[in-house]
Amino acid sequence: MTDEALLSIENLRVRFRTPEGTGTAVDGVDLAIAAGETLGVVGESGCGKSVTALAVLGLLAAPPAEIEADAVRFAGRDLLGLSAEERRRIRGREIAMIFQEPMTSLNPLLPIGRQVAEPLRVHLELSAAEARDLAATWLEKVKIPDARRRLGDFPHQLSGGMRQRVMIAMAMVCRPRLLIADEPTTALDVTIQAQILSLMRELKEETGTALLLITHNLGVVAQTASRVVVMYAGQIVEEAPVARLFEEPFHPYTRGLLRSIPVLGGRTGLEAGRLAEIPGLVPAITERLAGCRFAGRCPHAFALCRENAPPLFAIGPAHHARCWLQVHPERRRRDD
């Protein structure tokens, strides 16, 4: 939360008004990323990670979404105060995003070269030939073999890993200051996952872009991020530098996530990030009760947890957790 933060979000709330009811998907999230920093955001499915990212980019359709925040500042500008047109100029130019599903995130009817060149055409107003040339350079950078000859290929001719490389090239062509990667490796084979992650680290080194890395998998964060934010049911429940989080996780949810990291070279049937160890499910956004949102699944929960929602307590240097155990350490069960 420093002054020189590239992106800072204060008290972001996103509500969805749907026929099935109204629910708050993101409920008071504070985030800050410095220029060039890598911030990991982890949490199970449905915790509001993607919604947070999409709200920052202005990609949530409103309605059904209702977005409020005390501030969403990017490089000195208040994003929520900008016009739709001004936000469009930031997307793909200064903040780029890649998505989980490489199989469906590319347009099946357009050649990949053209899709990679598009941001160059619209933001930097390059000529078709210049954009094509730079697109080819970026496809080489993301290590697509024979890149220059494959500009005319269509997405269905590429494997999942190759498509994700194309997505990365497409996001990076304009050299954005912030890259948001929403589970960029979840849909890929384990070996391909490692390649894509190291490619992203490499490009980050080279371009100095800040990276907001969203994932189910704390293992991915350990290799890539410097700071981690753990989200649960629309809130941040823990935040710490990556080493500290792995050494001294505080929140029972974080501890549960850590136990569920698949061991490298371990059981093959265990899908990366599938959290078999935490019993129960994230509550749906329409059914959130009073008290700590994790209480229903928490092995340490006691009366206070069920009645009052805990604030975000300071645990240590740059380390915060939303858990009553901070003031009642005696309630933590010995075996955890």
Binding site: L59, R89, T104, P108, L109, P119, M167
Partner: protein, 314 residues
């Protein structure tokens, strides 16, 4: 790509064969003796038998079928019993009315349907969408002859902009002929536009939910580009199928509208020919209509391949 084309072409040929066999069989077993109709009810059995032999009607089924197809393939026209002229000439003159009518109707349909469908999809569940949906519902419920009559009453009788019906012929008066087709094409087109607009809307809505549309927006593309380059092309694929079906149906004769506007088209020809038991005409025209449907579907398949690069895989 070439293999795809050849497969579709082979399918086309097989379908045409089956269609011709069906048409022939149905007309063969249908009651009604052309010889009797030509000679009238007082004809003697001998003269009837002679005429049947002349027309080849006494030959076995497959021989007659082979004669028919053989002549068609070699471009030899049969003679119409009623009109006393080669069927091909007859059909060609009628096709010169029905073909342009069908194409013009489809132009009207597309020109109205695509913008409306896109507009409705972009304003889903808002008043603009509701207005389009109501309007198209109305279109679906409107019989085309009634719309045709309304158009005649308003534009021809009231405003006197168009002749109320008839067709001067392309050679005699090209501009007048085009004008004669405008109202009936509009009536046919606007009703087909209703279906197409709804289909375009729902197809657009499906596509707008796709991940690659989110990607296009995340890249900061202009909304125009997102809609017309990324969404529309994908959304048009299912629309193309229905478009082909509609064009095929229109080529197969817009019997009702041709009657409302007194247009000498294929629909009217087959109508008259059936009444007159003019077998050679009925046979060829029905085959032509069915072939038109099959052929347009073939063209749609080829168009798919042009639009969708994934086709060559299958």
């Amino acid at each position: 790509m070439l293999r795809y084309f050849l497969t579709k072409l082979a399918t086309l040929v097989v379908l045409l064969f089956l269609v011709s066999l069906t048409v022939f069989t149905v007309l063969f077993v249908l009651p009604g003796d052309p010889a009797q109709i030509i000679l009238g009810i007082h004809a003697t059995p001998e003269s009837l038998a002679r005429l049947r032999a002349d027309l080849g009607l006494d030959r076995p089924f497959f021989a007659q079928y082979a004669d028919w197809v053989g002549n068609l393939v070699q471009g030899r026209s049969a003679l119409s019993i009623h009109y006393k002229m080669p069927v091909f000439e007859l059909v060609a003159s009628r096709l010169a009315v029905t073909g342009p009518l069908a194409l013009l109707a489809m132009v009207f349909a597309v020109v109205f349907a695509l913008p409306l469908g896109i507009y409705a999809a972009r304003h889903q569940n808002r008043p603009q969408d509701l207005a389009v949906m109501t309007f198209t519902q109305l279109g679906l419920a409107t019989p085309e002859f009634w719309l045709g009559i309304l158009l005649v009453l308003f534009f021809s009788v009231e405003l006197n902009w168009f002749a109320a019906g008839g067709f001067p012929g392309w050679q005699a008066d090209a501009w007048g002929s085009l004008k004669a087709l405008l109202l009936p094409a509009f009536a046919l087109g606007i009703i087909r536009a209703a279906i197409l607009a709804r289909l375009t809307r729902s197809s657009m809505l499906d596509v707008l939910r796709e991940d690659y549309i989110r990607t296009a927006r995340a890249k900061g593309l202009r909304e125009r580009t997102v809609i017309y380059v990324h969404a529309l092309r994908n959304a048009l694929i299912p629309v193309l199928t229905i478009l082909g079906l509609q064009l095929g149906q229109l080529l197969a004769g817009a019997i009702i509208i041709e009657n409302v506007f007194f247009l000498p088209g294929l629909g009217r020809l087959v109508f008259t020919a059936i009444g007159m038991r003019d077998l050679p005409v009925v046979r060829d025209v029905v085959l032509l209509m069915a072939a038109a449907v099959v052929f347009v579907n073939f063209l749609v398949d080829i168009a798919y391949a042009a639009v969708d690069p994934r086709i060559e895989l299958h």
